[in-house]
């Protein structure tokens, strides 16, 4: 189950962050997302070490936390998508297709002429479509 998704702008400013757990652990999840930004920076600046080349948008597993796995995705416009899942047995192809849908939803949201670039995404349609995408992926 996906417990948290986040969109982070090119200056590491949060554009959208949403957790999907009942428990009061939003702060912990935000902390995980925050830490993963460093991992993304490292991946992007030293592409030879990480092994993933070809400048693909999907960055793969960023790091495994205790009970979570954190995946990242970096677009051409330097916007980062981060996803935290509590499933420990996840296939990469599923995550890829999740991010693709997530990215499409993001593009639709920022194409709104009333959206101010670089500001938080407040669109209700966006959060609805993200909730739909998240609930359609359970990875098990």
């Amino acid at each position: 189950m996906i417990v948290c998704v986040a969109v982070v702008g090119h200056q590491n400013n949060p554009l959208y962050i949403q957790s999907f757990t009942e428990a009061e652990d939003a702060l912990k999840l935000h902390h995980i997302v925050h830490c993963s930004l460093d991992v993304i920076d490292e991946r992007v600046n030293n592409p030879s070490k990480s092994g993933t080349t070809l400048n693909e948008a999907f960055l793969g597993l960023l790091y495994p936390a205790l009970n979570y796995k954190v995946y990242g995705y970096l677009t051409n416009t330097k916007v980062k998508f981060i996803m935290v899942t509590s499933d420990l047995d996840v296939r990469d192809t599923d995550v890829r297709s999740f991010f693709r849908k997530f990215h499409a939803a993001y593009v639709d949201a920022v194409s709104n002429p009333f959206h101010v670039p670089g500001k938080k995404i407040t669109s209700r349609t966006f959060s609805e479509s993200v909730t739909n995408i998240v609930s359609s992926y359970s990875f098990n």
């Binding site: 090119h10 070809l54 400048n55 693909e56 948008a57 970096l74 677009t75 051409n76 416009t77 330097k78 916007v79 990215h103 499409a104 993001y106 593009v107 920022v110 194409s111 002429p113 670039p117």
Partner: protein
């Protein structure tokens, strides 16, 4: 999902935007109108770049991003590719489109073009200025795309051939629209990362001025071709 819009709508919108900003809102301040139109283009480019780069791997350097502009982006927006790309390998790129779609239906009142034997007459420069108002929007789009891709830059455009309506009017009127194709030269100056904001602006302006002779050259060639 691909949504398309009729070309006439885009043409009308561009016409109206220029008319509103340069004729009504900022009637006495063409500089300000140009900046506002460019800003609109910037936002459009910013948003278009999100969509058009969606399925692509990340660009590793500036040249790749420029190539993307020339090929994919240009054909998405203007339905053709750039005809010529030149660079000095130091951050300046010149893109040339021999038939720029958004200007292909622009023509100039023949009465104002009567005295075009000399390129320095006020009639011609006025015409050039009028047409150049229509170029701030596409310039803004390109700047918006590149900025969103992480490449701060300055973009300026130049028309390589002014509308030749008067010329064709004399010979064969039916060729008016088909042949009054507009060439466009787009100069991009990318700011190297080590430049600070104020100094890079100066650097841009110097770079861009470098293109002026190029335009003169093309115009002269064009005139000599037509004055047979």
């Amino acid at each position: 999902m691909v949504r398309e819009v009729a070309e006439s709508c885009v043409d009308t919108m561009l016409m109206e935007m220029v008319a509103m900003y340069s004729g009504r809102f900022y009637a006495n301040k063409p500089e300000l109108a140009a900046r506002r139109i460019e800003a609109i283009g910037y936002q459009v480019g910013h948003q278009l770049s999100e969509r058009y780069t969606m399925e692509r791997p990340r660009f590793s350097d500036h040249l790749e991003a420029i190539k993307f502009i020339c090929k994919d982006f240009w054909s998405e927006v203007f339905k053709k590719q750039i005809d010529n790309l030149k660079t000095n390998h130091r951050g300046t790129f010149v893109l040339q489109d021999n038939k720029f779609r958004w200007l292909s239906r622009v023509s100039i009142d023949p009465s104002s073009e009567k005295e075009t034997e000399d390129p320095s007459t006020p009639g011609e420069s006025k015409a050039a200025q009028a047409v150049s108002m229509y170029l701030y929007f596409p310039c803004g789009i390109i700047r918006g795309v590149l900025s969103n891709l992480g490449i701060p830059c300055a973009v300026s455009a130049d028309i390589s051939s002014l509308p030749t309506l008067a010329h064709y009017d004399l010979m064969s009127p039916h060729r008016l629209f088909r042949d009054s194709g507009q060439g466009l030269i787009l100069a991009l100056a990318l700011s190297p990362p080590h430049f600070q904001d104020s100094s890079s602006a100066l650097w841009f302006s110097r770079k861009i001025r470098f293109f002026v002779p190029l335009r003169r050259l093309l115009k002269l060639r064009l005139l000599s071709k037509h004055n047979f």
